[in-house]
């Protein structure tokens, strides 16, 4: 038994991504129609050419009919997937594995979330099974806020210094997002402004938190050997790894809130699938799940981009800036885009699609893209201690 992966068996040949916005005038159906049309056009296919669909949405609908009805998909197998905030990546994984298995020639992964119809700020609409009332009801911001002081204490980082580090992460992602027309927030934000925002949970201020938006993104996948029928520049799937944690971190006294074991294991599996041994130097870029600034900090270590206890220094040194050693969240990340749950994972893949194919605009093109051909997307759901983690790697070349 092993996680063999499907390296170079499947290629992405078309992608689409709506602007992420407060789409007061567009519903789930509109977002799905918009992104599907863009994606079909990108791959040069008609909807009838797509043999099967994987729909990722956490709270905007149930069943495959959520996409089959607005797109009028006639007699197609449509699978609805949900895996917390990694839902979009899960849709891609399902579609890619089905094509790799030989079940279909062409499959579409589409992720959508209509968050802003809920009437509340933040994410709140996820349906829950009836419970005995003993579960936690904390916000994600509060759960992730536990990470910052734990990290500072473990590595002897002064609290004020850590605040600067976290502000630097937010600053970087807003800097990148300001150069992305699809991003929701397109203004650079001064670090001083970030630091001076009122606290919402623990040490986290408003700018330490990802925004909320509506949006959709999609990809069309085919067998690798068929890829050039659709595009000259396909992206080959190198790794798609998923770990759903046991939820033991929140009840295990050994867990210290300075790392995410699910991400570490998921990354190790993905690197093994892709044959990556030195991610910091092999990857051209990474899109990671920056739901809160301390999350991105810790992810740099969990994903092997920085040694344990050093990510805070690397952030300050600009290692993960657009022109750094390994650009992270060149599209602006969740910070600039907001987080339509079902769409975010595919939005990350969309940036890899642009960057590795030289389609990213010059003002945010990563310096590493010419020499390196691999990009990583990392998508997580849940909380420290109780987490789903996805790591995917795509590349512009076979082998």
């Amino acid at each position: 038994m092993a996680s063999h992966g499907i390296k170079d068996k499947v290629a992405i040949v078309g992608m689409g991504c709506t602007p992420f916005r407060e789409h007061w005038h567009k519903g789930t159906d509109d977002l799905l129609v918009d992104v599907a049309q863009e994606t079909f056009a990108s791959a040069g296919v008609e909807k009838a050419d797509v043999d099967a669909y994987w729909l990722g949405t956490a709270m905007s609908g149930m069943s495959g009919i959520t996409v089959a009805r607005p797109l009028k998909l006639h007699d197609k197998p449509v699978t609805h997937v949900e895996n917390f905030c990694a839902t979009g990546s899960e849709a891609l994984r399902g579609a890619a594995y089905a094509v790799a298995a030989g079940g279909y020639d062409v499959a579409m992964a589409v992720g959508v979330e209509k968050v802003k119809d809920g009437g509340y700020q933040g994410l709140s609409g996820a349906g829950r099974a009836p419970t005995d009332g003993t579960g936690r009801s904390l916000t994600a911001a509060a759960m992730f806020s536990l990470v910052a002081p734990a990290y500072a204490k473990k590595y002897g980082v002064d609290e004020a210094e850590l605040k600067d580090v976290l502000a630097r992460i937010a600053w970087k992602n807003h800097h990148n997002g300001a150069r992305n027309p699809r991003a929701q927030f397109r203004r650079e934000v001064a670090q001083e402004t970030i630091c001076n925002m009122p606290r919402v949970a623990g040490p986290l201020g408003v700018y330490d938190c990802a925004g909320v938006a509506d949006g959709a993104a999609a990809a069309i996948v085919v067998r690798a050997e068929d890829a050039h029928r659709y595009t000259d520049r396909p992206l080959y799937v190198k790794a798609l790894s998923l770990v759903a944690g046991t939820g033991s971190g929140v009840i295990d006294p050994e867990y210290d809130f300075t790392h995410f074991p699910e991400v570490e294991r998921c990354a190790a599996d993905a690197y093994q699938q892709a044959g990556i041994t030195d991610p910091r130097r092999q990857l051209a870029m990474a899109e990671v799940h920056d739901c809160f600034t301390p999350t991105e900090l810790v992810l740099m270590e969990d994903l092997g981009f920085a040694e344990r206890g050093t990510a805070w220094k690397e952030e300050l040194a600009g290692t993960f800036d657009l022109d750094g050693d390994l650009p992270v969240n060149p599209d602006g990340g969740l910070k600039s885009f907001g987080h339509p749950i079902g769409a975010s994972g595919l939005r990350m893949a969309f940036e890899a699609w642009l960057q590795l194919r030289d389609e990213a605009p010059p003002e945010r093109r990563v310096a590493t893209a010419g020499e390196r051909t691999l990009a990583l997307t990392h998508n997580l759901g849940g909380y420290p201690g109780e987490m789903v983690s996805f790591v995917g790697v795509v590349g512009s070349e076979l082998g």
Binding site: R128, G133, A142, P149, A201, V250, D252
Partner: protein
């Protein structure tokens, strides 16, 4: 011989300075403080706290044969409130749990009935006293609970044996409240006084006769009731020494109504020496007199948490917060969805976890699981767990955060990760705490609270709070 086997009071943490009322609404500033139940407490949860403490010191860890719960402020009607206390205490299912609810007199009535029973009865009395802003009930009332384990000398050493008592009853309207109303109304004060005084004197004389003691022989006298002027008047007419009168806690706790006879009895017992005669007089729709004699056992008995220590350990609350907690000053809730009602069947399945905070321990690895699990997180053993009661285990704060976004009846929520002494980790809300006084490494204990309410169903579970008084 019947009597008292164990007892405890519970005084909630918060104190409202009576002068704070006048600062907002004018009038003569009141003196002293009153106790205030937290926004996540009700008469049931306070009853649980008092009962847990009383059973701590029950002889031989004895379970009561029955649980009686008396309150004038029941959380539920139709549905029994005592069953939640029964569940929190993990009493066997063959021990009945019943409410004696509605009137303040139910409290002393439960004691009377228990003293004439043949079973060991845990009498839990609890109350929250509320009135409209500036009312006498608002400022002189208090919140709290008392639990007394009543039994026979065969059940264990009695701390005080019951010598006898008496009762006098008449129908007259002095104080009343319609179901659903948050305030009581009272008749003109002099009428009640003239009705109560002869009833009190009659019951007192009959009670002394039944107990075969004289007024001069009473060493500790508790007088309480629903009519302050009548209570004061009667106390001066009973012929006991002035020193005998036990502090009625009016300047610190306030009058906790149904719970007050038990709370003052606890206070009287805590200062009692062997052989002393303790008399309890309660004026509530009549008069009840109970006379006890402290036994030798009282001198070696250490209450789990003395009343005086609990009175001492209070923390302040602003008048505005008090009003909002009472529902008298609605404040803007966080803009988050309100909690949904819990599932009755799911709650019933997890009774031991939800109501008694019982986790499970993997027999092979020793790993403690909160909530209980079937498959171990260490070693993956299947169905090899034993129940592990955690409610009475102290814990240490590993880390904590303040959530200013999440829905709470009293934001912000202080949330902490706890490691229990001897193993086990749990993350939960803290209560009775001000965020700026909390530090990593602080010691906390579990407390039974009302987490939320939805569709009229109250969601009871456990939170943690700082340990301010060591539990002996």
């Amino acid at each position: 011989m019947r009597g008292i086997l164990s007892y405890s009071s519970y005084v909630p943490y918060r104190r409202l300075a009576r002068s704070a009322i006048a600062e907002v609404l004018g009038g003569a500033p009141g003196k002293g403080t009153r106790s205030v139940a937290s926004y996540d407490e009700d008469t049931t949860t306070m009853g649980v706290e008092a009962a847990r403490l009383a059973l701590d010191t029950a002889p031989g860890g004895r379970q009561p044969d029955e649980l009686w719960f008396a309150t004038a402020t029941p959380t539920y009607l139709d549905k029994t409130n005592a069953t939640a206390i029964h569940a929190a205490l993990r009493l066997d299912s063959d021990r009945p749990a019943v409410d004696m609810a509605g009137a303040v007199r139910s409290g002393v009535g439960a004691f009377r009935a228990a003293l004439s029973s043949t079973n060991a009865v845990l009498v839990v009395t609890s109350d929250m006293r509320t009135g409209l802003p500036t009312s006498a009930d608002e400022s002189s009332g208090g919140d709290g609970a008392a639990a007394v384990l009543v039994g026979g000398d065969a059940d264990g050493p009695l701390l005080a044996s019951y010598l006898g008592g008496a009762s006098a009853t008449e129908e007259f309207v002095d104080r009343w409240r319609a179901p659903g109303d948050m305030r009581s109304k009272v008749w003109e004060e002099r009428f009640g006084e003239t009705a109560y005084l002869p009833l009190g004197e009659r019951a007192w004389n009959d009670g002394l006769k039944a107990a075969a003691v004289t007024a001069e022989q009473v060493d500790r006298l508790v007088v309480t009731g629903t009519h302050a002027r009548a209570v004061r008047g009667l106390a001066g007419r009973l012929g006991t020494s002035k020193e005998a009168l036990v502090d009625d806690l009016s300047t610190t706790v306030g009058n906790t109504g149904t719970a007050h006879p038990g709370m003052l009895l606890a206070s009287a017992l805590e200062g009692a020496r062997p052989g002393q005669v303790i008399a309890v007089v309660v004026l509530a729709d009549g008069a009840d007199v109970l006379v006890f004699r402290a036994t030798d056992a009282v001198s070696s008995f250490t209450p789990a948490r003395p009343v005086a220590a609990q009175v001492e350990a209070g923390g302040s609350i602003t008048y505005g917060k008090f009003l909002s907690w009472r529902g008298l000053l609605p404040v803007e809730p966080p803009r988050r969805p309100e909690p949904e009602r819990i599932s009755a069947s799911a709650a019933a399945r997890s009774e031991d976890w939800k109501y008694a905070f019982v986790g499970s321990r993997d027999r092979s690895s020793g790993a403690i699981h909160l909530p209980p699990a079937r498959i171990s997180m260490k070693g993956d053993a299947v169905d090899d767990m034993e129940p592990v009661p955690m409610a009475d285990i102290p814990a240490t704060v590993v880390t904590f955060t303040v959530d200013r976004l999440v829905y709470s009846p009293s934001p912000p929520v202080v949330f902490a990760v706890l490691d229990f002494d001897g193993g086990g980790r749990f993350a939960c809300e803290l209560t009775d705490v001000d965020a700026d006084e909390l530090s990593i490494g602080d010691r906390v204990e579990m407390t039974f609270r009302r987490i939320s309410s939805g569709d009229g169903i109250h969601n009871y579970f456990w939170k943690a709070r700082p340990i301010r008084i060591p539990r002996s």
